[in-house]
């Protein structure tokens, strides 16, 4: 194992931490669950591509096109290695949102006799934990195909209730789409039983890894899921890039989503034959610079070591959970113990609306997210209008948690609650 890193050292790689925030405060960035900050290594990698090798990939015989293709396919290799996946299984999209929609449309585009097609009577299973990005595409696919949407509920502790798994995932079930880690509560969903169950009825499992892949090591072969999505921008990478991973035996049988240039084998005015994966799913001139920046981000994480990243966040979460215990009239939403939970802490403060909490925290340089976190059904289930959410990453340390706690006390004082 690599030696543990120091967040203070890491922050030196991130230009944004030299910014002066409101009230002349330093930036205490606790909103990595929404998007992470970027080290200069990522910015440099993107810039270098533009400055030395920019050309449309796979399309030209010239030197720039060659170099661009090598750089772009090299980025794919980095991502494949990161996930322990095969090269042709890694598809670059613009975001996890696109990845999940791509899959949903791909299912929807299937011929009636394909194993991926859905019809009335079929079932798609999700959970109450889902971010809208892993709910609405399936909800709409169900609407379009006549399939039924069913879901795992959650308990008051914010854990998935798997007690009904037998009736929930049944022979009608074609797709189980589930989050690996809740972006609101930090709950990590144990997958083993779900995957086994889904496969035993012939369903495929789609994993929303937005909040997991950036934070702990992911091995698609061990997880046993069939598809997986996450975004670069939450993993130190650029905006405008995401990953769709899928088993190649599936991908090569599936209908494409976006059609256009570079994804065809042959085309006439009326017919088109699709290329093999990954090209089949990458129509148009791709987001090349972003793929290369994403790979630089993954290399940065690999250098830290994903075990170290996970341990660092675990320790920091333990520290924060402990500090929260001492706060009065502050309610932690979600798992209170540090088991199967990521470094996301949602809370409410009696008498202060989350939006107002966020505003006071901002005055102290603390950036958090407030509201329903694009998980409105979860909020309703919990009977909440919203929460304040602090989420940690590699550049955060205990001092950041201390500032958070201090600012919460200030907010309570300000609003006299």
């Amino acid at each position: 194992m690599k030696p543990m890193f120091s967040p203070a050292e890491i922050r030196k790689d991130f230009p944004i931490f030299s910014k002066v925030m409101r009230g002349d405060n330093r930036l205490v960035y606790l909103d990595s669950g929404a998007t992470s900050q970027k080290p200069f290594q990522v910015l440099d990698a993107e810039r270098k591509f533009y400055e030395t090798s920019n050309a449309a990939v796979h399309r030209g015989a010239h030197l720039l096109a060659e170099e661009a293709s090598i750089a772009y396919e090299g980025a794919r290799q980095v991502l494949a290695y990161f996930l322990n996946a095969e090269l042709d299984e890694v598809i670059f999209t613009k975001s996890a949102t696109e990845s999940i929609n791509a899959l949903a449309y791909s299912f929807g585009n299937s011929d009636a006799n394909s194993r991926f097609s859905l019809k009335p009577g079929d079932r798609i299973v999700v959970s109450e934990l889902e971010h809208h990005a892993n709910l609405i595409p399936w909800q709409q696919l169900a609407k379009r195909t006549g399939a039924e949407l069913a879901w795992f509920s959650i308990g008051s502790d914010g854990r998935l209730d798997q007690s009904e798994i037998d009736s929930l995932i049944n022979e009608k079930t074609k797709i189980v789409a589930i989050t690996h880690q809740s972006n609101v509560l930090g709950t990590i969903v144990p997958l083993e039983k779900i995957v086994k169950h889904a496969h035993s009825v012939g369903a495929v499992v789609v994993l929303d890894a937005c909040q997991s892949a950036p934070h702990f090591a992911i091995d698609v072969k061990t997880l046993g899921v069939d598809f997986l999505a996450f975004s670069g921008h939450k993993a130190l990478g650029p905006t405008g890039i995401g990953i769709l991973w899928g088993r190649s035996e599936y991908l090569n049988q599936m209908e494409p989503f976006l059609t256009g240039g570079s994804m065809i084998e042959t085309a006439t005015m009326t017919e088109a034959k699709w290329a093999q994966s990954p090209k089949r799913f990458e129509a148009g001139v791709p987001n090349m610079a972003q793929a290369i920046g994403f790979a630089a981000a993954i290399n940065y994480l690999n250098n830290l070591g994903m075990e170290n990243v996970a341990k660092h966040e675990k320790d920091l979460t333990a520290y924060a959970l402990d500090k929260f215990k001492d706060l009065d009239k502050v309610k932690l939403i979600g798992p209170k113990d540090n088991v199967d939970r990521g470094s996301v802490i949602s809370f409410t403060i009696e008498g202060i609306h989350p939006h107002d909490v966020g505003q006071v925290l901002d005055q102290y340089g603390v950036a958090v997210r407030t509201g329903h976190h694009c998980a409105w059904p979860l909020m309703r289930k919990l009977g909440l209008g919203g929460t304040t959410r602090a989420s940690f990453y590699v550049y955060n340390d205990e001092a950041d948690v201390d500032v958070l706690i201090h600012s919460i006390l200030k907010a309570q004082k300000y609003f006299k609650v």
Binding site: R22, G23, I352, H353, P354, H355, D356, Q359, V360, Q363, T370, G371, H372, W376, M379, G385, G386, Y414, F415
Partner: protein
């Protein structure tokens, strides 16, 4: 502290003791508005008779800004004639988009000028406008009914 320009005493008062925050069962129009980015919701009832706003009542969940602002708006509108009321809404919208360059006309907006500071916090403008837009919508619907 910058924060004080946002959370004036008047606002915190309205937040803790909101006016007209109890839905009346009689109304000529009812609307339900949400702020999708934060999840705040408001239901607002108006009664407009002979072009006069005779009653505004509301209920909902939201931050101090949205609650105080709706309280202020409701109080302002009651008793105004419809045209006047819509002019006041315009004046408030204008203040909100001023990026901190305007202080608002106290003759027209009364307590509403306390919200002038919101215009410097772009993410909060929608909070401040929620009740006003709901009123405007309801007033227009009412005149159509």
């Amino acid at each position: 502290m910058e924060l004080d320009s946002l959370y004036q005493e008047v606002i915190l008062d309205h937040y803790k003791h909101p006016l007209n925050k109890e839905l009346k069962s009689q109304f000529t129009a009812q609307v339900h508005h949400v702020n999708p980015s934060c999840g705040d919701e408001i239901t607002l009832n108006v009664t407009i008779e002979n072009q006069i706003v005779t009653s505004v009542s509301w209920d909902g969940v939201g931050c101090s800004i949205s609650q105080a602002s709706t309280s202020i708006a409701s109080d302002l509108m009651i008793g105004k004639n419809l045209d006047q009321a819509l002019v006041i809404v315009e004046s408030f919208s204008d203040l909100m988009s001023s990026k901190g360059t305007k202080t608002g006309d106290e003759e027209i907006l009364e307590d509403g000028v306390a919200l002038a500071g919101v215009s410097k916090f772009p993410a909060r403008i929608k909070c401040a406008l929620l009740g006003w837009m709901a009123f405007k919508d309801a007033a227009i619907q009412s005149s159509k009914n």
